[in-house]
Amino acid sequence: MKTLIAFAAAIAASATMASAQQLVIKGSDTLGAKLVPQLAEAYKAENPGVTFSIAAEGSSTGFAALLDQTAHIGMASRRAKPTETSAALAKGLELRPTIVAWDGIAIILNSSNLLKGLTKKQVEQIFTGDITDWSAVGGAPGKISVYTRNTASGTYADFKELAMNKRDYAGSAQKMAGNEQIVSEVAKNPAGIGYVGLAYVKAPGVKVAPVDGKTPTQADVRDRSYPYSRPTFYYTNGAPAGATKSFVDFTLSAKGQKIVEQVGFVPVK
């Protein structure tokens, strides 16, 4: 009986994959808002039989989807947490990362802000709430408005680790759903400060604040001399296979990596 059920399930699964050829990709807003849709469009141009369903609501949602087996690829701007790895193992799954691009988390200010730059310590103090007035860091007096990503975001977690010594965000920090919302709010607010992925820094109304004299250039991100450099990932259940492998390979191909660079990320190779 068990054999029969397994056989029927296998037939059903293969029929689904064969007929739909749809890749479901969920997770990071950093990757999913711009880069992955462009990669998908380019891939579809070469593989018209494949359709995509992309949902970019934060890295945590990508891992959750992989654990629920409702996505082929989980986009992530952070590494899987040990608890997520444990949960996957408990379900017989294996979270396997593939680095698809490098990113630098840029500190952005309103373009009217005259500040020339910040130190790492000042960044930590601002985002944890130790410093609440621009005058404390050499700016014009005024209350600092801090914008961060929400807790589902991999960037939210990465920034805590990379820039905040793992401390908690200031209670007054305003949590935004995506990079574009942070850019929009900081562009509107002369007292605003936030952080976004490299792909979002070339927006009107904002400027990048050097940190310890470093700006997130391709070279500095690639050699990790920029302090907030990080890899971004596709996570799959085990080694990618089939259409999933084909899309991962495309992302890592010269053509894919060119798109990575065009969007504003730093290519892997």
Binding site: P82, T85, P97, D168
Partner: protein, 503 residues
């Protein structure tokens, strides 16, 4: 290079650095990053290794444990102690001839303590503790005790012995809840089993001055001289303020004061100095006193509260004093000198307690007025009449002096200790003093000595002997032999043989 080979290579490198298996995934990042920078691994290869390590770690017992993200560290600990105890208490004569004057008993006892200490982001921390037995001054559970339904292989109760949290920076610590005793002390004043409840503040005075006088926030490292202040506002007995049963007078607003909460305020200045190579001196003068709230439900509530009502601290509506004063205003002065003897850690230590209100306590609270007589009978019915005792200056003082050599940290370690003490009947709180020495009775003097040997790094065998006898003889009357009879013993001998296993 295959992935398996890479993983093996990285694992070997990590192990060569002395990392434990459970720590591999957490500690590997720096090494992997270095290998990438040196182009030994590509970023993707490093990521594969990292994923394998995390997966391996997730399959260990430790990796399966899931903790709140806010926890930065968690320590689980506990101990189990098996004890044989023999005690012989020879009491002063009592009113009836059939009262037992000489009590001998041997008991097999077990003590379990479980604890968890955790630290959280932002300087917060906390802890919980569970233990056998409800009494504040003992976690011992007498095995198969008939008095608490444990006979016939009955099971034991577990009680909460600690539940606290606090916040700390480099120089200030604030804690609230039921916690380990925060004071530098000996068992002369505080039974080591007691975990007081309330608010506690600890201030490292030197570091505090440094921090407050410097904008940089840099804290100096520990120097040869350290000075700190510990202040405790401890809730000794909380009462329902409208408890009219406390005082039988007219029920009105004033009666509410009859049940004012009883608080213990204990403040201590702890100074330590390295006076020579390997020699450290610590002194900790302090002061402790109670508010005059009504107290009930503690072992010595009767003798703890005033009985005569001759002093009106909180007058009731009709001007009658009530039983809330305790006249315990105690100056304490423990200390020690630590040094080495033949390479072994050693120390001489002392403690001192002087109740500045001892005379009033002896008369007003303990009823040692010198007025009248008390008739008692021996076991064979012979009557003796003694005058009710009066106060003596010896009643107000307790002191202890002792020494210890050795420590118990690893298998084969040993230590010995011994001390002598005198405890006046009005010198200390009978609810707080050590319940083992003289079985907790006051007006006693004697020795405590013991030896400890570490069978393993985590298991210590100990033998402790107590021998105590009257400080003043024939102290009859009042709360000495009546009420809670806090000084009812002539002599007490006690032996404890322990096997304590820590985990």
């Amino acid at each position: 290079m295959t992935q398996k080979t890479l993983t093996t290579w990285a694992l070997a490198a990590l192990c060569s650095l002395g990392c434990g298996a459970a720590a591999l995934a957490q500690d590997s990042s720096a090494l992997l990053d270095a290998l990438v920078r040196k182009k030994v691994l590509t970023s993707q290869e490093a990521e594969d290794v990292r994923a394998d390590l995390i997966k391996d770690n997730a399959q260990t017992n430790a990796g399966k444990l899931q903790l709140s993200n806010s926890i930065t560290s968690l320590k689980l600990y506990g101990d189990i102690r098996l004890r044989y105890q023999y005690d012989d208490v020879q009491k002063q004569l009592a009113a009836a001839k059939n009262d037992i004057h000489d009590t001998q008993q041997d008991r097999e006892r077990i003590r379990l303590r479980l604890g968890a200490d955790f630290t959280l982001n932002g300087g917060f921390f906390g802890g919980v503790g569970l233990q056998t037995a409800q009494a504040a001054d003992s976690a011992n559970q007498t095995v198969n005790s008939s008095s608490d339904s444990a006979a016939g292989f009955g099971n034991y109760n577990i009680y909460i012995s600690k539940a606290y949290f606090g916040w700390a920076n480099d120089w200030l610590t604030a804690i609230g809840g039921k916690q380990a005793n925060p004071f530098y002390t000996t068992d002369l004043v505080w039974d080591p089993d007691i975990n007081p409840v309330g608010a506690v503040e600890k201030i490292d005075i030197i570091k505090g001055f440094d921090a407050l006088s410097s904008n940089s926030g840099d804290i100096r490292s520990e120097g040869p001289f350290n000075l700190s202040l510990v202040a405790g506002q401890l809730a000794f007995s909380d009462n329902t303020e409208a408890n009219t049963s406390v005082w039988a007078g007219t029920k009105n607003e004033a009666t509410h004061d009859n049940a004012t909460d009883c608080w213990l305020f204990d403040t201590q200045l702890i100074a330590s100095a390295k006076v020579a190579s390997g020699v450290k001196v610590t002194v900790a003068p302090g002061y402790m006193t109670y508010t005059n709230g009504n107290t009930s439900g503690v072992n010595n509530s009767v003798s703890f509260n005033s009985t005569s009502g001759t002093t009106t601290y909180l007058a009731s509506a009709n001007g009658t004093a009530f039983s809330s004063q305790r006249d315990l205003s105690i100056i304490t002065a423990p200390g020690d000198v630590s040094f080495k003897v033949c390479g072994l850690p050693a120390k001489v230590l002392w403690d001192f307690a002087y109740n500045t209100a001892g005379s009033k306590r002896a008369t007003d609270v303990l009823g040692l007025t010198g007025v009248g007589t008390t008739t008692v009978k021996s076991a064979n019915g012979v009557s003796y009449t003694y005058p009710v005792a009066t106060h003596s200056s010896r009643d107000d003082i307790a002191w202890l002096a002792g020494a210890q050599v050795g420590e118990n940290k690893k298998a084969g370690d040993w230590s010995v200790f011994g001390n002598f003490r005198q405890t006046g009947i009005a010198a200390v709180d009978p609810n707080l003093n050590d319940s083992d020495f003289a079985a907790g009775y006051l007006n006693m003097q004697g020795v405590k000595a013991g030896v400890n040997y570490s069978l393993t790094d985590y298991c210590v065998a100990s033998v402790t002997y107590f021998d105590a006898w009257n400080l003043r003889s024939n102290v009859y009357g009042g709360q000495a032999t009546g009420g809670n009879a806090i000084a009812a013993a002539n002599s007490v001998q006690l032996v404890q043989v322990d096997l304590n296993l820590k985990f």
